[in-house]
């Protein structure tokens, strides 16, 4: 598109807008991809240098990550169907986006998830069983955010983007920005629906104004429950960054290598003081929004079939076999490991202790509130009055 002074870009027609959005099913020509859906590794001059350490064992490790994450995700779905979880939020189809981004992080970095980032949690060393309490109703998140570099899940859409921005401001105030080796960065996960939230807009404004080292990682999975992307935007999401004055890039979110490379680049930009950066990981939510959702009411099955051809795991498997001659033993080992993980996950879930009545009164305040203390004492006494009765 020309951009000389005085040039006025013509307003797109409605048909052009719709055609443009349909084109985004393929990601468009700006999509960064290094591993095609057919499993062919292609050259990517801008980002190949961020994959220099990815040898065959490393690629096998990424494959293993994705298979294990998908396996416990499927197990959780089943546990919900069997009444063991109140709800589950499936990540099916988004394994590459999450593992690619998660494996780009260092222990010094801080991640702010939404509520579907089970794959990023995995990369931060959080055992999958630690995610269960939220969905079984025994806690609101049991891991230590500071120790894991992984904030609690945020369910109010977009809130975490401002929290991540504030954290990243703190990293800058602490003098942790400037050096690629020792610098720190923050990554914030959110979805295509969240981009309509005021908090996301404000976080883009604040991050730009304060030069924060934050990577805004938008998983565009095409659907916000029942609403398709055209209910959220007229332009491809990655292009919004331009209006805020920082780079935006679209990566194939079903390509774990491309996501790894682009996220490494973005984190490096942030660590060296060139943040923020917006990444739009172009992917697809292959399952329902949650186990309470019914996608058959709002989208066609053939769309899912199309995306199955772009599966994030299958393309790595094909690449390992065809280009690196990895034998069946490896895949059998990973499958066995994933089944063992699922069994452990299930066993843990069905044996989780339930919190006692005192749990709801704990840690509401740092300094106890006499009002709350009185409520707790009265209720626990009431509760205890039933002991010995049947």
């Amino acid at each position: 598109m020309p951009s000389w002074p005085g040039f006025v870009e013509p307003e797109p027609t409605a048909a052009q807008v719709i055609a443009g959005l349909h084109a985004t099913v393929e990601g468009g020509q700006d999509l960064v991809q290094v591993l095609t859906p057919e499993g062919v590794r292609i050259a990517e001059p801008r980002f190949d240098r961020y994959l220099g350490d990815v040898d065959v064992p490393r690629l096998q490790s990424l494959y293993r990550d994705m298979v294990l994450v998908r396996r416990f995700d499927r197990e959780a779905n089943s546990l919900q169907r069997q009444g063991q979880l109140g709800i589950w939020v499936p990540l099916l189809g988004q394994e590459a986006a999450q593992i690619g981004a998660g494996r780009a992080l260092t222990p010094r970095d801080m991640a702010f998830p939404s509520y579907r980032e089970h794959g990023v949690a995995w990369c931060r060393g959080i055992d999958p069983t630690e995610l269960l309490g939220i969905f079984r109703g025994t806690d609101h998140g049991s891991w230590d955010p500071a120790a894991t570099g992984f904030h609690l899940y945020t369910i109010v859409i977009g809130n975490q983007c401002l929290n991540a921005t504030g954290y990243a401001m703190g990293q800058r105030f602490d003098g942790k920005v400037g050096d690629a080796e020792s610098g720190e960065a923050t990554i914030c996960f959110f979805g295509d629906g969240a981009t309509s939230q005021g908090d996301v807009h404000e976080s883009f404004v604040w991050s730009a104004v304060y030069d924060t080292p934050v990577v805004f990682f938008c998983q565009n999975n095409q659907w916000a429950i029942s609403e398709p992307l055209e209910r959220q935007t007229r332009v491809p999401l990655y292009r919004r960054a331009q209006g805020y004055g920082f780079p935006g890039i679209r990566v194939d979110g079903n390509d774990v290598l491309a996501t790894l490379a682009v996220t490494r680049w973005a984190l490096e930009e942030c660590r060296t003081g060139n943040g923020p950066v917006l990444i739009e990981a172009f992917t697809y939510r292959m399952d329902a929004h949650t186990t309470s959702d019914d996608p058959s009411r709002y989208r066609l099955a053939d769309e899912l079939e199309l995306w199955k051809l772009k599966d994030p795991i299958e393309r790595v498997r094909v690449n390992l076999v065809r280009e690196h001659e990895v034998g069946q033993d490896f895949f059998d080992e990973v499958a066995a490991e994933s089944d063992a993980l699922a069994a452990r996950f299930r066993e843990y879930c069905t044996n989780m202790p339930e919190p006692g009545p005192e749990r709801m009164f704990s840690e509401v305040y740092a300094e106890s509130s006499p009002v709350l203390d009185a409520q707790r004492d009265a209720f626990l006494a009431y509760h205890a009055s039933f002991e010995g009765t049947s």
Binding site: D139, H140, G141, S142, D144, P145, A146, H151, L152, T154, V156, N159, C161, L162, N163, A164, T165, G166, Y167, A168, M169, G170, Q171, F173, D174, G198, D199, E202, S203, V205, W206, V209, S362, E363, V364, Y365, A366, E367, S369, P370, V371, L372
Partner: protein, 324 residues
């Protein structure tokens, strides 16, 4: 020692807290170079720099949301909301994140954040500049809510709020910013979350906070001239309420009038009344009465003298209590 205004007392208190702890940040709209629209943060950016006194973009959710993130990082942000009626874009972050993070994380993520809000009317302002939204915040579990009523309390309470590891919504009675009092630094302050008897009396107890403290003290002085002794209690903390001094007083006087600018329905004043009927049932000589603003949106300022409780309306409430 010369008298200082509440505005200067708050400024001195903020300065003392910032000198004591390098993690204390001040952030808000126009708080830096301008010193805030009420000059509460005057001179702080000049002395502490732009990374400790932040002129933020004009976005209240952003102010609170980034303060939450800074607190996660280990900072102790003090946010200024420019006027009471502008806090609502930040209400989501206050209720959803600031109030709940400690509980959600089971204590792993403390939220030592102060949100300062100039509140109340009486300054002849346009709409959204004179509201009293404290009951909305007092209803939210996880928040603590206080209101200062005089310069001495303002100086100490802002520092105590900053030292608290809980999120504190700090209400400042903007029409009292320029009233003065002697501040004796050798007199130690009472705990932050405590109410105080400011004037002793035996006929009727007045419970009030924020801008109504001065109104009630004036009413007590006027009643004294007529031979009626009113006891005045500054609640100071609205969540949690510190009811001990109120109970002790009502057990002596048998009568209570709760005074606030905020509308009375489902309010802090309503909660005080409910608690007193529960704990002082046999001591009451009259029902607990409320003298408050009306359950209307804040009116055009030419009506505010009628909307706001004044000395006469407080004394009318006292008379109704005594006549029961």
């Amino acid at each position: 020692m010369s008298p200082i205004t509440m505005a200067k007392a708050l400024n001195n208190g903020l300065r003392a807290a910032m000198e004591r702890d390098p993690k204390v940040l001040v952030m808000g709209e126009d708080v830096g170079k301008l010193g805030g629209v009420f000059r509460i943060t005057d001179g702080l950016q000049k002395d502490f720099g732009e990374e400790r006194v932040l002129d933020t973009p004009l976005a209240e959710s952003g102010i609170i949301g980034t303060a939450v993130g800074l607190a996660i990082r280990g900072y102790r942000p003090v946010c200024e909301i420019q006027f009471d009626g502008f806090v609502f874009p930040g209400f989501d972050q206050i209720v959803s994140q600031l109030a709940k993070l400690r509980f959600r994380s089971q204590g792993r993520v403390p939220m030592p954040v102060v949100v300062r809000i100039p509140f109340g009317g009486g300054i002849g302002a346009v709409e959204h500049h004179s509201e009293s939204p404290e009951s909305l915040f007092a209803h939210v579990a996880g928040l603590k809510v206080v209101a200062c009523g005089n310069p001495v309390d303002a100086y100490w309470m802002i520092q105590q709020a900053i030292e608290s590891d809980d999120p504190v919504i700090f209400f400042e009675p903007k029409r009292r910013y320029w009233e003065k009092a002697e501040l004796d630094l050798d007199v130690p302050p009472p705990p932050l979350f405590s109410s105080r008897v400011l004037r002793e009396g035996s006929a009727v107890t007045l419970a009030c906070y924020g801008p109504m403290v001065r109104t009630c003290l004036d009413a007590a002085e006027a009643a004294h001239a007529d031979g009626t002794e009113l006891e005045v209690i500054d609640l100071r903390t609205l969540s949690p309420l510190d009811m001990g001094p109120v109970y002790e007083s009502v057990r002596r006087t048998g009568r209570l009038v709760v005074v606030s600018e905020a509308p009375s329905e489902v309010s802090v004043a309503a909660e005080v009344a409910a608690k007193v009927q529960q704990d002082c049932f046999y001591s009451l000589e009259a029902p607990v009465l409320r003298v408050t603003g009306f359950d209307t949106p804040y009116p055009p300022s030419k009506c505010e003298d009628d909307f706001l409780p004044d000395l006469d309306r407080v004394l009318d409430g006292v008379d109704r209590s005594l006549a029961w």
